[in-house]
């Protein structure tokens, strides 16, 4: 019984991870604007990796290898969002036609609008 639960949990995690990776790939290649593409690409290193590695950890039990996998998850969760953030900030800095491409909510602008109300 426990084995069945464990297997189904790990299979669920792996399938969800596969779905996230697939949607990430599709989004990276099919989205029109770079910020949307960054958003899709950031899915790989956060949700996709976590779900896949969680599936593996559940399937194999808690060993030293799974501890290393948890460390990998921690490292990626630290590093990947920061790199996405940097790329996005660079894009916002150098793209002059950003407002034409998509709606950008500037914090200052939002505050001004609220004050205006």
């Amino acid at each position: 019984m426990l084995d069945i639960i464990r297997f189904s949990l790990s299979a669920l995690c792996t399938l969800a991870g596969l779905f996230v990776l697939l949607s990430g790939i599709v989004g990276t290649f099919r989205f029109k604007y770079s910020l949307s593409r960054i958003h899709a690409g950031a899915l790989f290193d956060t949700a996709g990796i976590v779900l896949m590695l969680l599936g593996v950890i559940i399937a194999w039990g808690f060993t030293l290898t799974s501890l290393k996998m948890l460390i990998i998850i921690g490292l990626l969760w630290l590093a990947s969002p920061v790199s996405s953030h940097l790329i996005g900030r660079m894009e916002i800095t150098i793209n002059d036609e950003l407002e034409k491409d998509m709606m950008v909510l500037d914090n200052e602008m939002v505050r001004h609008e609220k004050e205006g109300d």
Binding site: L75, L78, A79, V82, H85, L86, R89, M90, T93, I94
Partner: protein, 339 residues
């Protein structure tokens, strides 16, 4: 009887004399005659004739131009419609044909390969057998790969480190901006660089907080990889690359001013040159004593200890330092042209 010369003036001897005196040639004479003929024979054409000729010329030019335009538009239209379709088809067919040909060739080659893992393969000769059987005993390295690349084939690895060093040198030659020599071009270049870096996000608080956490871990991991190269997977090249990546992350987060406190161009020069020289000298010593069957103070030690395996850990450190410095130098020179 001698021939009668009635044209003495144009016989060869007087012509030679004339040529010696004046240096004129027969060609000059003819040119003169033609020019005289035009001067005397033809009068200037009348304005009507000139106008008619001009009109004819104009008409001809117009005709040629329209012909050319028609040809061009035809070719253009053809290339836009029919030609584009043809090229598209040819591209598709060629792509498929070339892909199939390469697949066929590769499969054909693969079918001639010896079967995977069979003991009769040519790769399983006495060399690899000796590496596996006696590698640990002879070199003292638990990691057989480290024993191979830094002991049996250390000469090879010295060449690889030198390749990295030479690559770094050529990058320095090409990209280094001399800031002490204030000639015009380099000042201009420096200004361009400053312009280029104006847009770059600076003092990003998120990056700085994360890199205060990550940089020490990355550098420690690189040092671990280098120091344990003879015990576990890792070694100079991979550990050095990790250390270089950590340095680059630090540079990106905190800027050149803070990185220059510990890593400047003289440091790069000193570390690279010292590491390569140490590698070359120590390996020369070990090759010399080994080839001449002389006693040397290098001993394999107990396999598995941190300081064992003879020269391998020190050579790993040297290679790691060279790789780290080279990566950092590449990054800084491609980005700024200086360190």
């Amino acid at each position: 009887m001698a021939r009668i010369r009635n044209d003495y003036e144009n016989s060869w001897w007087p012509r030679l004399l004339r040529w010696l005196e004046t240096g004129s040639s027969a060609l000059d004479d003819r040119m003169e005659e033609e020019m005289e003929a035009t001067h005397e024979g033809h009068l200037l054409p009348s304005p009507e004739e000139i106008a008619a000729q001009e009109a004819k010329r104009e008409e001809r030019i117009q005709r040629k131009l329209s012909d050319e335009l028609a040809l061009y538009t035809h070719a253009h239209q053809w290339s836009r419609t029919k030609g584009a379709k043809l090229a598209d088809w040819a591209y598709r067919i060629l792509a498929v044909v070339i892909c199939l040909a390469i697949i066929f060739l590769l499969l054909q080659t693969a079918s001639f390969l010896p079967s995977f893992g069979s003991p009769d393969n040519p790769a399983h000769n006495e060399v690899s057998r000796r590496y596996i059987e006696k590698g640990m005993e002879e070199t003292g390295a638990v990691n057989i790969v480290a024993g191979m690349i830094l002991d049996y084939r250390a000469f090879d690895t010295l060449g690889e480190s030198n390749v990295l060093f030479v690559a770094a040198c050529s990058v320095l030659i090409l990209l280094r901006l001399s800031s002490d020599k204030k000639d015009l071009s380099s000042v201009h270049q420096l200004e361009m660089e400053a312009d280029d870096r104006m847009y770059e996000p600076k003092n990003d608080i998120i990056l700085q907080k994360v890199s205060t956490l990550l940089v020490p871990i990355i550098l420690l991991y690189g040092v671990y990889g280098v120091m344990n190269g003879h015990i576990s997977p890792g070694g100079g090249f991979s550990g050095g690359a990790v250390m270089g990546a950590g340095l680059i992350l630090y540079l990106n987060a905190f800027g050149f001013k803070k990185a220059q406190r510990f890593f400047t161009f003289p440091v790069f020069q000193a570390v690279s040159a010292c590491a390569l020289t140490f590698y070359a000298l120590s390996k020369a010593y070990s090759f010399f004593t080994g080839a001449n069957h002389l006693p040397s103070f290098i001993s394999p030690g107990t396999p598995g200890n941190l300081f064992s395996a003879g020269l391998i850990p020190y050579l790993n450190i040297a290679v790691g330092l060279v790789v780290c410095c080279t990566m950092y130098a590449f990054y800084t020179h491609f980005r700024k042209g200086d360190m």
